[in-house]
């Protein structure tokens, strides 16, 4: 599975970092999300799916490879 971030959509809410801090961070300057783990380990996928669901900009997608 691959984490896809539609960066221009990101609104810098940081909800993804709250639910999946191992996979996401925010840029210091503008708060836009950064993907730390593009191919997260299996045990992290639930939290990534949570981040996809909670993202208020629908900017994150978990794609099948």
């Amino acid at each position: 599975m691959r984490v896809e971030l539609d960066e221009p959509k990101c609104v810098a809410a940081g909800q993804c970092v709250v639910v999946a801090p191992e996979v996401f961070d925010q840029r210091d300057e503008d708060g836009v999300a950064v993907v730390l783990e593009e191919h997260p380990a299996a045990e992290l996928l639930d939290s990534v799916r949570e981040a996809v669901a909670v993202c208020p900009a629908a900017a994150i997608r978990l794609a099948e490879l």
Partner: protein, 391 residues
């Protein structure tokens, strides 16, 4: 449990549907939406869509493939018209009925209107945004009634597009009831500095052919009028259902409104134990979070349900300013600027209710710095610990 019905196909309803599937529910899942479009996102309507930066397609919340993968019984373009909890039936506007074992209500809100405002714009749906977008541009006179967050965002976009914008607000200071007087004044000043004519303390009584009429009889002329004076929960269809409706569908801390009936999103008024009060939150983030929480409680065995205790979050983009707030600002007792300067559009303000810090609002501050306050609010920190050196 074989049949779950979700009424409302926007952010909250979609989040609920996805959560039910993700958590293993494989029965019939009906998603009813009154708009014909597949679920789309509303915050961009008053920002990127209104400015013309985004096409309508860009607001889709999910790709057609991701939506299809949910295996929904999708009923779009038809509103719910009635509910009979005794028989477990939702009646739709086309006369059909949908049976349910469990129901989730996420019907959202609709704009409040003014007398005569059929000729005016409102801004809630994609069609609303496209209609207004096509009518604002250089030299056009736009009158925005209501300087809340929606009106302020629209005014900012229209002003940047070269329109001549008049922003009318009945309160002496815009948003003072929500963000406090000082912060409201700072936001008001930002509009004035960018050429928007902001008039406070004026009440609009009706929309006329060529503008709006104020309470004192004056007519403020405009080519286009946008009415942005708040929202009303979409609960009319619940009349006679026995559900308690009081500025929203009244729910307990589990987002439950009645046996087998839950609610989420803008339409839900639930008891949030973290703040010890009932609240109805019209924030985009809450729609997703509450949709997920209500869906999980709907599926859970009795005793396994969890209270929904979020720290609310919202943001607003106006000109080059990003406004972000964590917490519950309403009814606060004190506001303290703890970083930056109100006059420079760069500050962080903390809000006290009783002896606790209950919210933090920032303009032009790094998002990561602002987000640290979320945890402070979530642990119910005392005001004098969170904001030291205050009298």
């Amino acid at each position: 449990m074989k049949r779950i019905v979700i009424v409302g196909a926007s952010a909250a309803g979609l989040a609920a549907a996805e959560t039910l599937r993700r958590d293993g529910y494989d029965g019939t899942l009906t998603l009813v939406g009154d708009e014909p479009s597949p679920p789309y996102d509303r915050p961009p309507l008053s920002k990127q869509v209104l400015s013309g930066q985004w096409d309508a397609d860009r607001t889709a919340l999910r790709t057609p493939e991701d939506l299809a993968a949910l295996g929904l019984d999708l009923r779009l373009g038809v509103a719910a018209a009635g509910l009979d909890p005794a028989t477990g039936l939702v009646r739709l506007a086309d006369g059909s009925t949908v049976p349910y074992d469990r129901l989730l209500i996420a019907t959202g809100v609709r704009p409040r209107r003014l007398p005569g405002d059929r000729v005016a714009h409102v801004l809630r749906t994609l069609d609303d945004a496209l209609a207004l977008r096509d009518r604002i541009g250089p030299g056009q006179r736009l009158v925005v009634v209501g300087a809340g967050f929606l009106g302020a965002e629209a005014a900012a976009v229209a002003s940047k597009l070269g329109a001549q914008v008049t922003l009318l607000e009945p309160a002496p200071v815009p948003l003072a009831h929500a963000v406090g007087r000082e912060v409201g004044q700072a936001l008001a000043q930002a509009h004035r500095e960018r050429g928007v004519e902001l008039r406070c303390g004026v009440t609009v009584t009706e929309v006329t052919e060529d503008g709006v009429r104020l309470a004192d009889g004056e007519v403020v002329e405009g080519d286009e009028i946008l009415v942005a004076i708040g929202s009303l929960p979409n609960t009319d269809w619940l009349a006679g259902s026995g559900l308690t409706v009081d500025d929203g569908v009244v729910c307990d801390e589990y987002c439950q409104a009645a046996p087998d009936v839950y609610a989420a999103g803008d339409v839900a008024r639930w008891y949030n134990p973290l703040f010890g009060t009932s609240m109805r939150i019209e924030h985009r983030t809450n729609a997703a979070e509450q949709g997920m929480a209500a869906a999980r409680n709907l599926l859970a065995a009795p005793g396994a349900r969890k209270p929904f205790t979020p720290v609310p979050y919202f943001w607003s983009d106006q000109y080059d300013m990003k406004i972000q707030a964590h917490g519950y600002l309403r009814g606060h007792d004190e506001v303290a600027v703890v970083e930056g300067d109100l006059a420079e559009d760069r500050f962080l303000a903390a809000y006290r209710s009783g002896d606790r810090i209950t919210a933090a609002l920032a303009v032009g501050m790094p998002a990561k710095v602002v987000r640290q306050w979320r945890q402070v609010i979530a642990v119910r920190a005392a005001w004098h610990d969170a904001v030291p050196n205050r009298p």
